[in-house]
Symmetry: C2
Subunit: 474 residues, 2 copies
């Protein structure tokens, strides 16, 4: 029994978990074993309990990871075994990190991606609605604001389609859809409860991380996150696997492109889009990819409550034009994809759902079913009380509003942890301004955080003016 | 403060360690933080103590690892920062595993290897003898038996050269030099004590893992081990860094080549050898590489006590020819390399040290200085009492003795944990045998382990006879 060996630790009742051996001269006496708290908890063991330690063979998938490092393409059952052994706790973070690094450098074949998608789906629970016409949407991300989900879901749910949406919380952005919707209602909902809500209202917006849907993806993200490793194949399997788990048949994928976006070039977006469609087809999913302008924020508010305000305004027929237009456009495409209207007519059908108030009513029904106040008013929103206005110092035309810098300021001000914190952008690209015009306002829930955000402005220029000279050489 | 964030946890006295944040709704109440035991121990914290939590920037080396994954070559100071941040605990196993995977796939430039070697040396203590003529040897491994170190060290120590040898314990083999020498004496010796012994006896054999020499290497090996990732650059930096730590000027590197050895082909061995010489030169080290026959075991005994028996016999002018010849040959080369005799004369000089008993006397002096019995006799060795003889079932010529299979049997029989366990191989390649001749004997310290080893023979054919037909196709 040496350091690093895999063993099974079993109770007398033969309940077993996999554990990695550590060796200590100090913590345990000969004949004793120490057990880490998580293992003790899993097995319900107390001090003094007897356990059985059984030798475990080296997991088979280790040799597959080695072959992947060596540049080989793995067979579907090999990919599936890697996922299975990750879920069983047989592979450590070291080994999983090596697999992800190999995938990042070597890439995945289509067959590997499809196998990983199936394995992702099968790693946890599924939402079984027993209905036809299940829709979904996904945004590849990188654009601040951009709360289209909170508008597309109620619009689609007004029809006889279903949209059981699982959303994420922020990892590095000022707010995820789950964080923003949580200002209004509960998003941590069990799968059975979600099923009931969707069957009743035709839609829901739930935090995906709180359910056991595609749990292997959470484990992979934990390893991918520190180095921001997003091998395309893992991205595809993660996104499409989760859609498949809720039974989605028709899916719109939004790929924002442009300066500062996750996907900087059109060619890369097209290549990724092709890949989405191809992998989707292989798992029986009807996909339309929309490549959108991702160079600037969508909507004016950035941060949970500020974004809610934009959404509630759009539902009332007002609010930021870009957010309204993009949400209606995407809803229309989804309606066309699902065969609910003729191609070219989707935009008008979706527009009507905003205009006639049906989407607003549906949104509030969903908020109520998930445990929130269906009659919430914009004035109820907890917008941060400490504010700072940033004004222009000169006349000019706005050339670029930087997603990453706006994001950074909003995060320093407290978003997404503080619901009311964030940034409100008063201008959009192309606006002409004169000296003294308001550019954006920072909101915070504490004076200290506001002062940190103001200080950050010294190094950041989130709103850029058009310039003649872009650089000089000598 | 989110999951996965790096923070500094500090005591009121401003002693700080780096820790990674985990989030729990159950284990801690609002306003409390839980601290893992290793952190509490490092900071000497008790329940109820106040701590300060400080945000830590993302370690700079994370971006270097990302660039390495992307195929870039890092600058020397970037490699050194990675090592520094590993030592400071700023990089997690996930990130370190990604770096190693990237190094495995992308390879290291010579400049990266040299930088890593320097960083390895500077990661811990150094043995400062204050003498000229410090020698060392290293074997790349993969050959069972092969206890040349225990013979080369006393021979070199008979001259006015110094050989402060650090050796390893077995990780996957039936015994490491440290395990074998430990049958006779203590090998866990502090650096200051080692210094005294070497100044007195001109040699010592100490377990390297028990000292703080090149500690970053231990951390890297922990990550490399599960997937057996041995990127050549890390292998070179590890080996040469450790030699540099003891001040070695003249170093013999043994690269065993052949069927079943770590390095299977001559071309690969030559390439690795060139690399050793080149990197050695850049750090002021005089290296000679010997490419040796590694297809079969060297010596007859496999396992700690059985290997000791071979060594003691060679010191008395008897014992296995191959072990004696290889040890004398390598010692001769080292004497020539260090300028102690003319080229071509080293073998004779080393031979004399065995013949005249000086090496035996020196060996026993070192055993005594390290705390063992200098008058140990072969009959004192704790050879396992449970034995099983494997005999030929037919007449023929021995074509191959498989290192890996012999190793496996010896390990199943209990080596290296049980000193007396292992295998004694009675034949060498080329021997002609008749039905009933003894091939090898298995030794164990318990009947159960012996029976496991016997059972393993069902699937293993460690000794192969010459065959006419190697395969057929139809």
């Amino acid at each position: 029994m040496y350091w690093g060996y895999r063993t099974q630790v079993c109770t007398p009742k033969k309940e077993c978990v996999v554990a990695i051996v550590d060796v200590s001269d100090e913590l345990v006496k000969p004949g004793e074993i120490g057990i880490f708290k998580d293992v003790a908890k899993d097995l319900n063991l107390k001090d003094g309990d007897k356990t059985e330690i059984m030798h475990m063979d080296r997991p088979a998938s280790i040799s597959y990871i080695k072959r992947k490092l060596d540049g080989e393409t793995l067979k579907p059952d090999e990919v599936q075994l890697i996922v299975k052994e990750i879920m069983e706790g047989k592979l450590s973070e070291i080994e999983t990190s090596a697999w992800i690094s190999a995938a990042y450098i070597r890439g995945f074949s289509d067959e590997e991606i499809i196998a990983l998608t199936h394995a992702t789906v099968n790693s946890g629970d599924k939402l079984e609605l027993g209905k036809k016409g299940i829709c979904d949407k996904h945004c590849v991300g990188g654009v601040v604001g951009n709360r289209t989900t909170m508008l597309i879901v109620p619009m689609i749910a007004c029809t006889d389609l279903y949209i059981p949406k699982t959303s994420s919380r922020s990892i590095t952005s000022p707010s995820g859809t789950a964080d923003t919707f949580e200002v209004l209602t509960d998003v941590e909902i069990e799968i059975e409860e979600m099923r009931k809500i969707v069957l009743k209202a035709h839609g829901a917006i739930v935090w995906g991380g709180g359910m056991n849907l595609a749990p292997v993806d959470d484990r992979l993200i934990k390893i991918r996150h520190p180095l921001s490793l997003d091998p395309e194949g893992m991205l595809l399997a993660s996104i499409l696997g989760k859609k498949k788990c809720v039974g989605a048949e028709n899916v719109i994928i939004d790929i924002p492109v442009g300066r500062g976006a996750k996907i900087p070039y059109m060619e890369k977006a097209q290549q990724l889009g092709d890949h989405f469609i191809k992998i989707g087809k292989s798992i029986g999913m009807n996909i339309e990819v929309l490549i959108t302008d991702g160079a600037e924020p969508v909507g004016n508010g950035v941060g949970p409550a500020l974004e809610c305000r934009d959404v509630l305004q759009v539902l009332e027929g007002k609010g930021p034009n870009d957010l309204r237009h993009k949400s209606i456009f995407m809803t229309g495409k989804l309606l066309e994809l699902a065969g609910k209207c003729n191609v070219g007519k989707g935009y008008d059908v979706a527009s009507d759902l905003i205009r006639n108030g049906k989407a607003n009513k549906k949104f509030r029904e969903i908020v109520g079913l998930q445990g929130g106040n269906p009659n919430v008013k914009i004035s109820d929103l907890p917008i941060g009380q400490y504010t700072y206005d940033v004004k222009t110092e000169r006349e000019g035309q706005i050339y670029h509003i930087d997603n990453k810098m706006i994001s950074k300021i909003a995060r320093i001000a407290g978003a997404p942890r503080d619901d009311g914190a964030g940034v409100y952008v008063h201008r959009i690209r192309g606006d002409r301004v004169v000296k003294g015009d308001l550019l954006f306002t920072i909101y915070a829930e504490s004076e200290t955080k506001l002062s940190f955000a103001i200080k950050a402005l010294e190094d950041l220029e989130p709103i850029e003016f058009r310039k003649m000279l872009l650089g000089s050489m000598s």
